[in-house]
């Protein structure tokens, strides 16, 4: 273990990152990212030209259904895609002006965990069952900072206190299964912020938790972000979670960003039919009809994404132009908004009427259950 730590410290820090200043551009700038999964059933195009950026202190939400590519995006940024079957086939991920995708693995590892950290959905399975939580947090200090065991342990306890785990000193010796769901997620958060990362990616951090605990965890993330000024990427399918925390929202569908807007603007007036569908599907108390509204159909099979706009089989506004290539580009609408829909202006102006007769076979190609695993 000691030799590993030594190896770690002899690695050269990635060059160029330290000369970066916010004037040079965005802290994180993802351009035209493409990821595919090569499976036995064919090539699944998980991400197809996603572009977005994040600045310091900013909260960006990536919103989408299962299989929309939001988690894969995070894994591609972190460089923890399972290869095979996942491959980044194009694009750039600039962090502090350096393209992470071009860094050799040993330098990329210096970024991972230290400068860009990540927390996961299910903390019970995401924490190692055979090591104490104190050990797992302390590992960050021991391996990245070369601290000795006792220093790292007391640093870990401080972190546990910082994320409001009661009796941190005693609980550091407990194993993950001995904690409640909310406390486990706090442990994950403590581990991720150990080395003061500049970006924290939270992949569905509250999905596995009950509602009251969800709010506490989101509150904690907000507090920590305010304290440290880190950029936060919040990956979720839960519109309720996003509303409070995110400054900006990217809506993903079939591996593309179909709408990007400030959260207020997006909630007030969606500029893409998919976003509109998502917002309409939130159950409301003041609903007059008894039925819940949902977007018909399922996300497309990523091995056979429909021609034209990938949302067209489920879109109530879809016209002929939507069903033929090229797919609608993501166009700037001004005011930091952009949308990838042929009829975005009409939609925003409220002049877009649904096509009366919707094709009965709205379900283009349901995603087989096996594939969802890859995309999540």
């Amino acid at each position: 273990m000691r030799t590993l730590a030594k190896q770690n410290s002899t690695i050269v820090e990635p060059t160029g990152m330290d000369n970066w200043s916010p004037d040079h551009g965005h802290l994180l700038d993802v351009r035209n990212l493409n990821v595919e999964f090569r499976t036995r059933d064919g090539v699944a195009h998980a991400i197809n030209g996603a572009s977005f950026h994040l600045d310091r202190g900013e909260s960006l939400a990536i919103l989408g259904e299962s299989g929309s590519g939001k988690s894969v995006t995070a894994q591609a940024i972190m460089g923890i895609l399972d290869t095979p079957p996942g491959y980044v086939t194009g694009g750039e991920v600039f962090f502090r002006g350096v393209d992470l995708l071009k860094l050799p693995e040993d330098q990329r590892r210096r970024v991972r965990g230290q400068r860009i950290a990540m927390i996961f959905q299910d903390a019970l399975s995401a924490l190692n069952p055979v090591f104490t939580v104190g050990w797992q947090i302390a590992e960050m200090f021991r391996i990245h900072k070369g601290m000795n065991k006792s220093d790292a342990h007391s640093a870990a306890i401080k972190l546990m206190e910082r994320v409001n785990i009661p009796a941190a000193a005693q609980r550091a010796g407990n194993f993950p299964h001995q904690f409640s769901g909310g406390m486990r997620q706090r442990v994950m958060i403590a581990m991720s912020i150990a080395l003061d990362p500049e970006i924290l990616i939270a992949d569905e951090p509250t999905t596995a938790l009950d509602v009251t605990v969800q709010a506490q965890i989101m509150e904690l993330l907000k507090e920590l972000q305010a304290e440290t000024g880190m950029g936060l990427i919040l990956i979720t399918h839960d519109l309720g979670v996003v509303a409070d925390v995110a400054d900006r929202i990217n809506v993903m569908y079939a591996g593309r960003i179909v709408e990007s807007a400030g959260s207020r603007e997006l909630y007030a007036r969606p500029a893409h039919p998919y976003t509109e569908g998502l917002l309409d599907s939130i159950p409301r108390l003041d609903q007059t009809t008894g039925e819940l509204s949902a977007i018909g159909g399922l996300p497309p099979n990523l091995t056979r994404i429909p021609a034209g706009c990938s949302f067209n089989p489920r879109c109530k506004y879809a016209r002929d132009i939507c069903r033929v290539d090229p797919e609608p580009p993501l166009v700037e609408l001004g005011g930091g908004r952009s949308s990838a829909c042929h009829f975005t202006h009409e939609l925003l102006a409220g002049r877009l009427a649904p096509v009366a007769v919707l094709a009965e076979n709205a379900v283009a190609d349901p995603v087989p259950a096996a594939e969802e695993g890859i995309n999540e």
């Binding site: 273990m1 590993l4 972190m78 590892r109 996961f120 924490l127 190692n128 055979v130």
Partner: protein, 306 residues
């Protein structure tokens, strides 16, 4: 922990009584154990009467059993029909069997885990296929074929190893140990391979990578221990089984161990020797199982022994 061990030991009591009673019943009560003691001719009346007297054969089965167990508890496993104390036989034979078991276990653990790691880390590679095919061949061959062929090739033809192991020394037992351990080695290799490749796609391994840990540390520290949990359980249980001797292997290499003794005793209808030996084997197996369970708890903190 202490109460757990105590509880487990108390639980052993009914198991020991049940198994030994079954064995006693099968050996002493299903047919007269004195029959066939004197070759082709019937035994003299006086001899039969003496045996009946000594083993309480005229009493009821439960009483016979209780009297027998009473002697066992005092450390007296009885005298076999040829006049040797069973306990003395076991004392000279058990070290040989333990040596054989140790060689087999070391072989199966070291080679099996190494092969499993090689295959599990490079799934669908040449090494994975090689390990798969090799283990398949080993699993398919019956142990008496493997033992006889190894004895013929490495012992007789090539002369690399002693052909038999009549003294039961480490050096003599090397080849029999490898033969004995080879089947379990194949299982260990497959178990390690599957366990490792399953754990490599676990969420906590992804977390370890996201923490910026090196590939070596991700496998060596974060995955290895989790992957070994089922392997250690298997090896531990196997050691318990090997302690009982290996009848086939000991026969092939003429090894003076427990397996050979049981075989011989059954052949000569030596009831005392059979029951005595198996009673002790039951105890050894139960203790080994307890040790494996304790080890399991030490490896996996989710198993609580309290």
């Amino acid at each position: 922990m202490g109460t757990y061990i105590l509880r487990r030991i108390l639980q052993m009591i009914p198991v020991v009584i049940g198994t030994t009673f079954l064995i006693y019943w099968m050996v002493f009560s299903l047919g007269d154990p004195t029959v066939g003691r004197c070759g082709e001719r019937p035994c003299p009346e006086s001899y039969v009467a003496r045996l009946h007297e000594e083993y309480n054969l005229d009493k009821s089965l439960p009483e016979q059993y209780v009297r027998y167990m009473g002697k066992v508890l005092q450390g007296d496993l009885g005298t076999s029909f040829n006049g040797n104390a069973v306990i003395d036989q076991l004392a000279t034979r058990w070290p040989v069997t333990i040596r054989l078991a140790v060689i087999a276990i070391i072989f199966e653990a070291v080679i099996g885990i190494a092969a499993g790691l090689l295959a599990g880390l490079r799934r669908r590679s040449f090494w994975d296929t090689l390990v798969f095919v090799t283990t398949l061949v080993i699993i398919s061959i019956p142990s008496f074929v493997l033992g006889s062929v190894a004895q013929m090739v490495f012992g007789v033809r090539l002369g690399w190893f002693p052909v038999t192991a009549t003294q039961g020394t480490w050096q003599q037992l090397l080849l029999p140990g490898l033969v004995l351990g080879s089947l379990s080695m194949a299982y260990v290799a497959r178990l390690t391979r599957n366990s490792l490749s399953e754990n490599l796609s676990a969420d906590y391994v992804r977390t370890a990578r996201a923490k910026g840990m090196s590939a070596g540390r991700v496998v060596g520290v974060h995955t290895f221990r989790n992957s070994l949990i089922p392997v250690v359980t298997f090896i531990g249980a196997d050691f318990g089984a090997l302690m009982g001797g290996a009848i086939v292997t000991e026969r092939i290499f003429n090894i003076p161990g427990i397996g050979g003794y049981i075989y011989h005793s059954i052949n000569t209808k030596d009831a005392t020797a059979v029951v005595g030996t198996i009673t002790l084997l039951v105890l050894v197996f139960l203790v080994m199982n307890l040790i494996v369970d304790l080890l399991y708890g030490a490896l996996d903190p989710r198993i609580a022994h309290d």
